[in-house]
């Protein structure tokens, strides 16, 4: 059984072929694209069996890996993205993570480190995909937004908003446990891996973003309530009544 279906995008032949070989050896099913256009072709042709994770180099000969990540998110929202690049400036890392990437790995790296981070990202992505069903089938009303967990998107009136994997996972965790208080520590262990160095403040920042999506007035939250010193509680109309 395959350890996961991966798209590897790397334009440097020695790095690409060694990575492909080693990932295959670890049990992954790997499609290696040597550029932007070829990678997009793989994504388009993957159809009903999308890639679980894409390992993207940023400086590609025929385009940017950042743009490719946006294209992949638009076409295959369930595919988790991990950047593997020589661009290691703080502003570049932030740009990559703001695009919704699960991780950002700077070259040169240890293969074991890469493998561990790929496995962690896949574990999280599978957790998010678990029970999502087909896009549209899993949509729920949360506050003033209709959220489609399988499509990683939300709709607020006529406005369509795409969600990152983590935003989607956090919202789903709170929705699955609606009416109950979920502690920050529990959220951290469910959604983040310790390698990402998250803190309880990381959770608070994500909650702020989700409140902007679901609350009528984010400064006076009625849907995602803070329970002082403990965590958060999602309250739907049923719990309110």
């Amino acid at each position: 059984m395959s350890a996961g279906k991966l798209l590897l995008v790397e334009d440097e032949p020695n790095v690409g072929s060694t990575l492909e070989e080693r990932l295959r050896h670890e049990g992954f099913e790997v499609a290696w694209a040597k550029g932007f256009a070829e990678a997009l072709g793989f994504v388009k042709s993957s159809g009903a069996a999308p890639f679980e994770l894409a390992l993207l180099d940023v400086g590609l000969g025929d385009g940017s890996g950042f743009d490719l990540a946006s294209e992949i998110r638009a076409r295959s929202a369930a595919t988790a993205v991990v950047f593997v690049t020589a661009l290691g400036r703080p502003e570049e890392r932030v740009q990559g993570l703001e695009l919704g990437a699960e991780d950002y790995i700077v070259k040169p790296f240890h293969f074991r480190e890469l493998l561990l981070r790929v496995q962690n990202a896949l574990k999280r992505a599978r957790g998010i995909a678990r029970g999502s069903g087909a896009p549209g089938a899993s949509s729920v009303e949360i506050g003033r937004a209709r959220v489609d967990f399988a499509a990683f998107s939300a709709r607020r009136g006529a406005e369509a908003i795409s969600l990152t994997h983590k935003e989607c996972a956090l919202l789903r965790l709170l929705h699955e446990r609606r009416g109950c208080v979920v502690s920050r520590e529990e959220i951290l262990s469910e959604i983040w891996s310790s390698d990402e160095l998250p803190t309880t403040r990381t959770v608070d920042n994500f909650i702020l973003r989700l409140r902007k999506l679901v609350e009528t007035d984010p400064s006076d939250p009625l849907v995602i309530r803070s329970i002082r010193g403990i965590g958060y509680q999602l309250v739907t109309e049923r719990e309110k009544s």
Binding site: E12, N14, R89, H110, T199
Partner: protein
């Protein structure tokens, strides 16, 4: 400023010319001569003031142009430096990947395994040099840091993992950090600081096995992280530590590592302090406030 200088100089000359004309009048010079002398003096003042102004303007322009040319050249050199170092990263990745593949295959034993271990160790050293050059170019070009809450224990566990794997035979790591301690820092900058400190410990440590202790705790105005090794310490002037390109008497390094530690800590709103009297100790102070 330049206009004020020329104006002051012109008005001084003008008042002197007026005083001379007044004196000439008093000693009985003809009124026509006094008028003619005053006209000549004013004309001279206008010409000299204008010439001085143009001269000063030209000098200031030349100075500015040289400053601009130097700054552009510095920027170009920094960009070139950054790009060439960046280009080194890809082949280094390839070398590391392939060497690791050979080492992990289990096919190399005995002498071959030892050679592969050395190759990996030297690849790591080369990676460290490239990272130092890249980070130096970035910081000298005004590079920024992104501060966020970093849990110290989780960061150390992740950052030390490769060191424990690659240098398990030569490096003994002892970590003593409270579980819920966080600092406000840039995680990538922390990795650079840790790498430079550990590489120094290996370079100047005992030939057989170097022991490095890492401890952290709350201090009066923030959090203190101390990295201490049991190596030879630093025999030179303590004030030279952390100064760019300044090395100890026996150091083979580039004189960049500790400068990066000092600069990155300052950018994160903290400070670094070194003590090489017994072994080598790096004390990092993280402020709880905002970075500068």
């Amino acid at each position: 400023m330049m206009l004020l200088l020329v104006g002051w100089w012109g008005s001084l000359l003008y008042s002197q010319a007026e005083r001379i004309a007044e004196l000439e009048k008093r000693v009985g010079a003809s009124p026509e001569h006094v008028v003619e002398a005053r006209f000549r003096a004013r004309r001279m003042i206008v010409w000299e003031s204008s010439a001085l102004f143009v001269l000063l303007l030209a000098a200031a322009g030349a100075g500015l142009w040289m400053l601009f040319r130097d700054s552009r050249r510095t920027r170009e050199l920094e960009a070139f430096f950054a790009s060439i170092t960046h280009e080194l990263k890809t082949p280094l990745t390839s070398i590391r990947l392939q060497t690791e593949a050979l080492a992990d295959s289990g096919e190399a034993t005995g002498r071959q395994a030892e050679l592969l271990r050395r190759l990996l160790e030297d690849t790591g050293r080369l990676e460290g040099q490239v990272e130092r050059m890249l980070e130096l170019a970035r910081l000298e070009g005004g590079g920024i840091v992104f501060l966020r809450e970093v849990p110290v224990a989780a960061w150390l566990e992740s950052a030390l993992r490769p060191w424990r794997e690659v240098h398990s035979g030569r490096l003994e790591l002892e970590v003593n950090v409270p579980p819920n301690l966080s600092i406000r820092a840039d995680a990538a900058a922390l990795d650079v600081i840790l790498r430079n400190t550990l590489e120094n410990a290996l370079k100047h440590g005992a030939s057989e096995r170097t022991k490095v202790s890492i401890s952290a705790g709350r201090a009066a105005d923030g959090v203190e992280l101390t990295i201490r090794d049991d190596g030879a310490g630093f025999p030179g002037e303590p004030r030279d530590l952390g100064v760019l390109f300044r090395k100890g008497p026996s150091s083979k390094g580039t004189g960049i590592g500790l400068y990066l530690v000092t600069t990155l800590m300052a950018r994160m709103g903290g400070s670094a302090e070194f003590d090489g009297s017994t072994g080598f100790r790096t004390r990092l102070r993280f402020s709880t406030g905002e970075a500068s």
